[in-house]
């Protein structure tokens, strides 16, 4: 199993540093949630990811003001594409995580692992 986690450097990446992560997680550090492209999300699945998470700042707390909102919109759009090509859109998720939310980061990843295990059972 492989889970790709796109992390905003200002928030989720700092949270990742405070959490215990399973081996199958690949962290991709981004300067801001707004940097993530639909192409990156799809390419992650193409590269064999079973789940993709986009974890960015709280929406009204983004250093680039609407970077986090843009990330969410792109995730929503990519979910539509996944639906069309027959991949369960639940395999792609966006969540806001602040820099001090290590436990929440861990929980989101654990939930994703759990969900994927159920889906493959």
């Amino acid at each position: 199993m492989r889970i790709v986690v796109f992390c905003c450097e200002n928030s989720a990446y700092q949270a990742a540093r405070q959490s215990r992560l399973p081996a199958e997680v690949d962290l991709i550090r981004l300067p801001c949630g707004g940097r993530v492209e639909v192409l990156h999300l799809l390419r992650a699945f193409e590269g064999g990811a079973d789940g993709v998470l986009v974890l960015t700042c709280q929406e009204d707390n983004c250093q680039s003001l609407h970077g986090s909102a843009r990330a969410r919109h792109r995730v929503e759009y990519a979910k539509e594409i996944l639906k069309e090509i027959g991949i369960d859109p639940e395999r792609l998720q966006w969540h806001p995580v602040t820099s001090n939310m290590g436990p929440r980061f861990q929980k989101i990843v654990a939930d994703m692992v759990e969900g994927l295990k159920l889906a493959s059972a």
Binding site: R2, R17, L21, I28, P31, E37, G47, L65, G67, R70
Partner: protein, 514 residues
């Protein structure tokens, strides 16, 4: 071929075998203390003339920041330090993290730094309390200032007030002495009865065009302070009409200067459900003032009195001691005007909804205070959403600050604090005399740019500009805050974000695939 070094922290739980296949010229083990770590890192980096380093181990964010700052001060490129924080990862996870870091490192190009001289002057738009305080503080820090004021005289809303309960400040005195200090100072230019026309340029070198009574002038400055104040709006929705018996709270000082005495006065607050703290403050101030000047009977009608903190609470108690009566209402009172009287009929929940009917010879109504200068902000792409990263005075644009009532409803101490804070931030920005920035972190490849202006529209920091000569967009490197939003949204993929370019991100994605 880039020369990379690998630095493995003591107790990282990895050894050189994790780096198998990597093209590194040196591998060093580092001590656990951050200070020693910086010395050894920089020492090895310079000795081997490295282009970059991969730091592997338990590296908390603060240590990473410290090391990057140390590198910057040593004249090395902090962006070429790739940090792999291995905390919380098991053996397999560690290997994957290291592999990803090596992939990232391969795609990192060197950063080019540029240093630009800044205009050390600050351009202050608005000469109210906050703007004047910003000017005073900036002068104390040694930076020249320009003040542009639309009225004939400085002072803003504060200048219209006679007294400032609960604060022991005489507004007229404060304004007078502040203006005197500023006018004596040869490094202060004051343009009154003037209007800003246009703002060009970016942080470090803004160009402001001002319409003065004697014609348009142009001034340059490294930073801009917007102290645009507030405007008063009559609460039309209430159905009340201003007249001789019904007046707005903002006209209180003007009224109490007259000898004409009203025997019974009511304040009507919280017209818009939530009401405002400044409304409560002004009404309490007004109630005390009327008691002092006229000795009238005073009632205050509100939904909730907003008395936070000691100064307001003590003012409220003082008003009560002086005989001011406070009533609450939930349903908006019925107001009837007849000849010399205004009658209010309402139900007070604290009096078990008893119907109260009282006639007054003056009704003072709380108006809505709105931030002024929206047109200016829109024209200059300045915004200040409620965002903790900008709090209190920063805006979306680097080098532009907002202070006083144009950013939030505020009392006098708030305005003073804002002006001081903005001055401090501007000093941090311009005090050195030059601005250091990365010249090509985010760059438009002009040959690929189709001039669609997507970046200009979406850049949250107003850093995307138009280069008419090249017929391409241009990301101003001094104003750019490197979020990468433009690189993600550019339909022509013409914008490259060094260190986070598509090739690098894709390589990391492919590397993990099995």
């Amino acid at each position: 071929m880039a020369r990379w070094g690998a630095f493995i922290c003591d107790g990282a739980g990895v050894d050189e075998s994790s780096l198998a296949g990597a093209e590194v010229v040196v591998t060093t083990t580092l001590p656990p203390q951050a200070g020693d770590l910086a010395c050894k890192l920089i020492g090895t980096w310079t000795r081997y003339n490295l282009d970059g380093g991969i730091l592997i181990g338990a590296v908390p964010e603060l240590v990473e920041e410290l090391l990057k700052e140390s590198l910057r001060q040593a004249g090395l490129d902090p962006f070429r330090l790739v940090v792999v924080d291995l905390r919380g990862r098991d053996k397999e996870g560690k290997d994957r993290e290291i592999k990803a870091a090596l992939t990232r490192a391969r795609h990192l190009e060197p950063t080019h730094w540029a240093k630009a001289k800044v205009e050390q002057r600050a351009l202050i738009i608005g000469g109210g309390a906050a703007g004047l305080q910003a000017a005073l503080s900036l002068r104390q820090l040694g930076l020249p200032v320009l003040i542009v004021e639309k009225e004939e005289s400085l002072g803003g809303r504060l200048g219209k007030l006679d007294g400032l309960y609960p604060y022991d400040v005489d507004p007229q005195g404060w304004i007078k002495s502040t203006i005197a200090t500023l006018q004596e100072d040869p490094e202060v230019e004051i343009l009154t009865a003037s209007k800003p026309l246009a703002l060009a340029g970016q942080v470090g070198d803004f160009i402001l065009e001002v319409q003065t009574p004697t014609g348009a002038v142009t001034r340059r400055g490294g930073a801009v302070v917007l102290a645009l104040g507030s405007k008063v709006r009559w609460p039309q929705e209430s159905g009340l009409e201003p007249g001789p018996r019904v007046v707005g709270l903002s006209r209180l000082d003007e009224l109490t200067r007259f000898r004409l005495r009203h025997k019974k006065v009511a304040f009507l607050l919280d017209l818009d459900e939530l009401g405002s703290r400044v409304g409560t403050l002004s009404a309490l101030r007004g109630a005390l003032r009327i008691k002092d000047n006229w000795g009238s009977e005073v009632h205050v009608l509100c939904r909730h009195l907003k008395v936070d903190g000691k100064p307001l609470e003590s003012m409220y108690r003082k008003a009560r001691d002086m005989g001011v009566l406070f009533f609450k209402y939930e349903e908006f009172p019925q107001v009837t005007e007849s000849g010399e009287e205004v009658t209010l009929q309402f139900k007070d929940p604290d009096l078990e909804y008893m119907v109260v009917e009282e006639a007054y010879d003056l009704l003072i109504v709380e108006e809505e205070l709105l931030p002024a200068g929206e047109e200016l902000m829109e024209a200059w792409s300045v915004s200040q959403p409620a965002n903790v990263r900008l709090y209190p005075v920063a805006t979306n644009r680097k080098g532009i600050y907002m202070v006083g009532c144009c950013r939030d409803e505020m009392d006098f101490p708030g305005a003073i604090q804002d002006g001081t804070v903005a001055a401090g931030e501007i000093y941090a920005l311009l005090g050195e005399g030059d601005l250091l920035y990365e010249e090509d972190r985010v760059k438009v490849r002009s040959e690929k740019c189709v001039f669609c202006l997507t970046c200009v529209r979406i850049c949250p920091h107003g850093a995307a500009e138009i280069d008419l000569v090249q017929e391409a967009a241009f990301i101003n490197p001094a104003a750019c805050q490197a979020c990468g939003m433009c690189a993600a949204d550019c339909p022509a993929q013409a914008i490259v974000y060094k260190g986070f370019d598509n090739e690098g991100i894709m390589a990391q994605l492919e590397m993990g695939g099995r």
